[in-house]
């Protein structure tokens, strides 16, 4: 058997000698039980790590528990050695695990088939080392791991306290060595060779050569250090450069097609790595090539397919994960990249709105959709029928930002959305985008039982700013019941009214301001104060005499609001003159 140990054991005796003298505090029976316990916890950890994501508490708990078991074992022993056979694992001479399944779930089979024959854990093994050990044995080698086996991963983990013995026999046929050696040795050195070399060497006078011994200086090492640091950066840009080189050199249609595939997989890789900037740079360069007059239609078509791939669900899902990671990556490269996407990517982005967890990520996607909206308004409006209220609200926001009044007819269909938050957003959008078509809806919302909805409706009327809208607000304020509304709501209505700044409104406000409060009711004074506030906002000097009058009123609220309004009008006029 051709075994190789990763660490030579010869000097270990010196290190462990002390422990032998100390003896161990554990009975053999107990010790075996503890070893079995460790094996059980490793099996459990394998299961849990596959079942739960790393941020799940069970995941962390399992790792913690495993480490505890080891710590307890190391109170009595300085090392734990497991011997591995195809179906069995032994501790000392005791069988501690047996399973005859030929599957990776079987721990002994799993370790044995890759050549592992012995595993040693040493006291003082830090928790990070055990954690990476457990992570490795929990990986799915059939699905996720392509060119590694358990040994190569152990090797790369570079353990200090976990040692293992590996058999490499599994690797290759023995015959090659014999055959190659025989072949190469067959060319025997010719009998006279040495004599000839000797004669030649001594024929000329021997001169001692000055061999060029190169010694490295501190500055060489500094340069090397910079090299290594530089090498740690990701390789995507260089990789893209190479794909472009191959692209330029491509001659046949098949070659161009291949290169498209390379671009696509490089883009996918870059997004996985979170390097959106590299993708952006690539698309930009491709766009430039596509614009060149020397490029034929077939190549243009291929370039287009790369853009299309970038906007595919596969890639956009990865983009979503990237922004949803909690690290809040810079959205700028993605914002720049959006201009290369076409309308086909809209549905995928809308799907993301429903699937992403973080507000941060959703905001990035919303901004992208705002940009893409003009490419297909109709596609965007389809999102209004999403079962998720927040998606509907986001879509309304997108339509609102897009300022295209064609959206109104779709928005009107959502005014009766069961979710208040959606209704508020749609009312606002209708105000900003709408025309006379939206008036009936807004009017009905002025009587909504929810105050926030009523306020949204009146503000929307304000942003419509038409005469009809004004009339609606005036009618509402004139109603008798208006007096009984809360002060804040009233103030908001009067605030909206100030938008119109015309004689009708000023007259109406003065009339309200000068209304006699029959029973001196506080509610009436509130309305009067609001009228004063509104006049102040309008800034019409003709209101000043009335406001002076009201400043002297004995109602504190009216006094205060009149005073503020006067101040405001005078300030404004001063600035203007």
């Amino acid at each position: 058997m051709n075994l190789f140990m990763f660490i030579k054991p010869d000097r270990m005796s010196l290190l462990w000698r002390e422990n032998e003298i100390k003896g161990n505090g554990m009975e053999t029976g107990e010790e075996i039980k503890a070893a079995k316990g460790i094996l059980q916890i490793l099996l459990k950890a394998r299961k849990n790590l596959r079942l739960y994501p790393a941020n799940n508490p069970v995941y962390a708990k399992t790792l913690e528990e495993s480490f505890e078991k080891f710590t307890r074992f190391f109170q009595f022993q300085d090392q734990l050695i497991f011997r591995i056979r195809l179906y069995d694992i032994y501790y000392m001479d005791e069988l501690v695990y047996h399973n005859t399944d030929q599957k990776n779930e079987n721990l002994s089979f799993f370790l044995f088939k890759d050549g592992l024959r012995e595993l040693t854990f040493q006291k003082k093994m830090p928790v990070e080392e055990l954690t990476s050990f457990i992570k490795i044995i929990s990986m799915d080698f059939e699905q996720d791991v392509l060119d590694d086996d358990v040994v190569t991963l152990f090797w790369e983990a570079d353990f200090s306290y976990i040692r293992y013995v590996v058999e490499d026999e599994v690797l290759a046929d023995e015959d090659y060595e014999a055959q190659a050696v025989a072949g190469v040795k067959a060319r025997q050195t010719e009998p006279g060779s040495f004599q000839a070399a000797y004669d030649d060497a001594t024929a000329v006078e021997i001169k001692i050569q000055n061999p060029a011994i190169v010694s490295l200086t501190e500055s060489d090492l500094k340069m090397l250090f910079i090299e290594l640091e530089d090498d740690a950066k990701d390789k995507i840009d260089k990789f893209m450069t190479i794909i472009f080189e191959i692209f330029y050199k491509a001659k046949t249609a098949k070659e161009v097609e291949d290169v498209v595939g390379f671009f696509n997989s490089a883009i996918e890789y870059a997004v996985r790595q979170g390097n959106i900037q590299a993708v952006m740079n690539t698309l930009e360069r491709l766009a430039q090539i596509a614009q060149s007059s020397r490029v034929n239609e077939i190549v243009k078509h291929h370039i287009k397919s790369v853009f299309h791939f970038t906007g595919s669900q596969q890639i956009l899902d990865l983009v979503g994960q990237h922004f949803d990671s909690g690290l809040k990556p810079d959205p700028k490269p993605f914002q720049e990249l959006i201009r290369f996407l076409d309308k086909d990517s809209i549905p995928h982005l809308m799907d993301l709105l429903g699937n992403l967890d973080s507000i941060y990520a959703r905001k990035v996607i919303i901004d992208a959709l705002v940009y893409l909206c003009p490419k297909s308004l109709l596609t965007i409006t389809k999102g209004l029928s999403s079962p998720k209220w927040y998606v509907v609200r986001n879509i309304i926001y997108i339509l609102r930002e897009n300022k295209d009044s064609r959206a109104v007819e779709y928005l009107l269909k959502t005014v009766s959305h069961p979710d208040l938050r959606v209704r508020k957003e749609v009312i606002r959008a209708l105000g900003e985008l709408g025309d006379s078509r939206v008036l009936p809806a807004l009017q009905s919302f002025l009587d909504d039982p929810d105050m926030q909805t009523r306020l949204a409706a009146v503000r929307a009327l304000g942003s419509l700013s038409s005469g009809q809208a004004k009339a609606m607000v005036l009618v509402k304020i004139s109603e008798k019941a208006f007096n009984d509304k809360s002060f804040n709501e009233k103030k908001e209505f009067f605030h909206v009214l100030a938008i119109w700044k015309d004689k009708e409104v000023v007259d109406f406000l003065i009339k309200t301001l000068m209304k006699t409060a029959l029973f001196g009711s506080a509610k009436v004074y509130e309305s009067k104060a609001c009228a004063a506030y509104s006049l102040g906002m309008i800034g019409d000097r003709s209101a000043l005499p009335y406001l002076f009058k009201c400043r002297g009123a004995h109602n504190k609220l009216l006094q205060k609001f009149s005073e503020t309004a006067i101040q405001r009008i005078e300030d404004e006029n001063r600035i203007q003159s």
């Binding site: 050696v181 072949g183 070399a197 290594l228 080189e245």
Partner: protein, 467 residues
């Protein structure tokens, strides 16, 4: 000074060795009582004491060219290389193999050790040093152990096995690509590379020796493995991590994968290639990228492999092929592989140039290309690795004997280990090894190289002596 990492971490272990070198080097310049030395000593004392408190004992041993701290081999990172080199030389010249620190170590004890080591001239016997330190209870020194021949023979066998397995894996992987097989067993290839990295860390010289025998029939596969070995070995000197070394080994192994789509008639053509055929050969870097990218889903290693496949003939100054305009600097791995590739190709009997160059001649040529075709800094590391007289060089000694270099001495690059082939009259003798760093009683080297010759020119079959 408090260290940020655990006292028994690999970094702390390396730091102790480094600090020991700092102490000794400063004591060579200043008196032991000088503040520079005492400061260095007290830092060393703090590091060692902290370690001993955790581990009870500190055993610092030189084995071959490497230091071990309580059985852990300390890596040779570039920052500490100069200090490590110094310490290896010093230990070897004094025949000291091991320092053991225990019990209550004091700065005064280290000061005694420093004085004893620095003041000892290289001729002094180990026993004298031991005597001088006998009253220091906390420090013991042990004599340098020379590797036992039988052990060496065993290791040699194992390394040999590893080498040929690697070639056979390379062959099966690469020929499955040639035959258009879908399932390429990369796990096997990677496992092989890990095994090679492992051997290079422990028995670098043996594996380099294997890579020096060039006369095999299957050039492409041997070449791939050789380039991988030279690259890993160079990478190790640059201080790359295990993971990086494995990656570099993989990347190097596949650097010529593009040759698998070149018709074998051209690849193995025994006569000179015409321009058209050369044109086909020159496609292999790009073809390699195509193969690598189609092989599996992209990951970091396949990207690096593709980069190296594309760049390995471009040259440091962009004068090679494929021709590229406005191209960014070559990747570090490409420059490493390019060195390894050129060296192995020049010293091999390739099908399209039947006469291989002698290793030292190849090195000389490469030195002329420093800064133009080859990265000058990496070339320096490469020369230190293969030695001024690389393995396989036929040499004439000042004793008039002929010898063959079979192992490099990393500390004295111009004093390799050789096999003596003839006596001083040129008569063949029973081949026996000799270490050119051996000195006589007066402290002078016993034998030195005066001339190198081309073993190939005299049809000396290296395999007879190196395998």
């Amino acid at each position: 000074m408090k260290t940020a990492y655990r006292a028994d971490s690999p970094k702390a272990k390396g730091e102790m060795i480094n600090q020991l070198a700092v102490v000794l080097r400063s004591a060579e310049v200043h008196h032991v009582d000088n503040i520079a030395v005492t400061n260095a000593i007290s830092r060393l004392e703090a590091l060692v004491s902290e370690f001993v408190q955790l581990e009870n004992i500190l055993i610092l041993e030189l084995r071959g060219e490497f230091f071990f701290v309580n059985e852990f081999r300390i890596r040779y990172s570039s920052e500490v290389m100069i200090n490590f080199d110094y310490l290896v030389r010093l230990f070897k010249s004094l025949d000291v193999g091991t320092l053991v620190f225990q019990n209550d170590l004091s700065a005064a004890d280290i000061s005694v050790l420093t004085k004893v080591l620095v003041e000892a001239s290289s001729g002094v016997s180990f026993e004298v040093l031991q005597e001088k330190l006998s009253h220091v209870n906390s420090i013991q020194i042990e004599k340098l152990k020379h590797v036992i021949e039988a052990d060496l023979l065993d290791t040699r066998k194992m390394v040999k096995k590893t080498y040929f397995k690697a070639v056979s894996v390379a062959k099966s992987v690469m020929s499955s690509i040639r035959s258009g097989d879908e399932a390429v067993d990369l796990k096997k290839a990677k496992r092989m590379v890990v095994s090679m990295v492992n051997h290079i860390l422990d028995e670098e010289q043996l594996l380099l020796g294997m890579a020096s025998i060039k006369d095999y029939d299957e050039y492409t596969y041997h070449h791939s493995v050789n380039v991988s070995i030279f690259s890993i070995s160079l990478g190790q000197r640059l201080g790359l991590s295990m993971k990086q070394l494995t990656e570099l080994g993989m990347v190097a192994l596949f650097h010529d994968i593009g040759k698998m789509v070149i018709p074998t008639e051209i690849l193995n053509k025994p006569t000179r290639l015409n321009d058209e055929e050369w044109g086909v050969i020159k496609k292999h870097p790009v073809e390699g990228v195509r193969i690598l990218l189609k092989m599996k889903r992209l990951d970091y290693t396949s990207i690096r492999s593709a980069i190296v496949s594309f760049e390995h003939h471009i040259f440091y100054n962009n004068t090679g092929y494929p021709s590229v305009k406005k191209y960014p600097p070559l990747d570090l791995y490409s420059r490493i592989v390019s060195l390894a590739d050129q060296y192995d190709a020049m010293t091999s009997a390739r099908v399209y140039s039947r006469t291989p160059m002698s290793p030292d001649k190849a090195l000389n040529l490469m030195m002329k290309q420093a800064g133009t075709q080859l990265d000058p800094l990496l070339l320096q590391f490469f020369i230190n690795m293969v030695g001024v007289y690389p393995i396989g060089t036929l040499v004439m000694l000042d004793s008039n004997e002929l010898g063959l270099v079979y192992e490099i001495n990393p500390i004295f690059v111009d004093r390799p280990h050789i096999m003596i082939l003839t006596d001083r009259l040129g008569q063949r003798v029973t081949v026996h090894p000799f270490d050119l760093s051996n000195k006589n009683e007066e402290g002078a080297f016993q034998k030195s190289i005066v001339k190198t010759m081309d073993a190939n020119a005299y049809k000396v079959n290296l395999a007879e002596y190196l395998l």
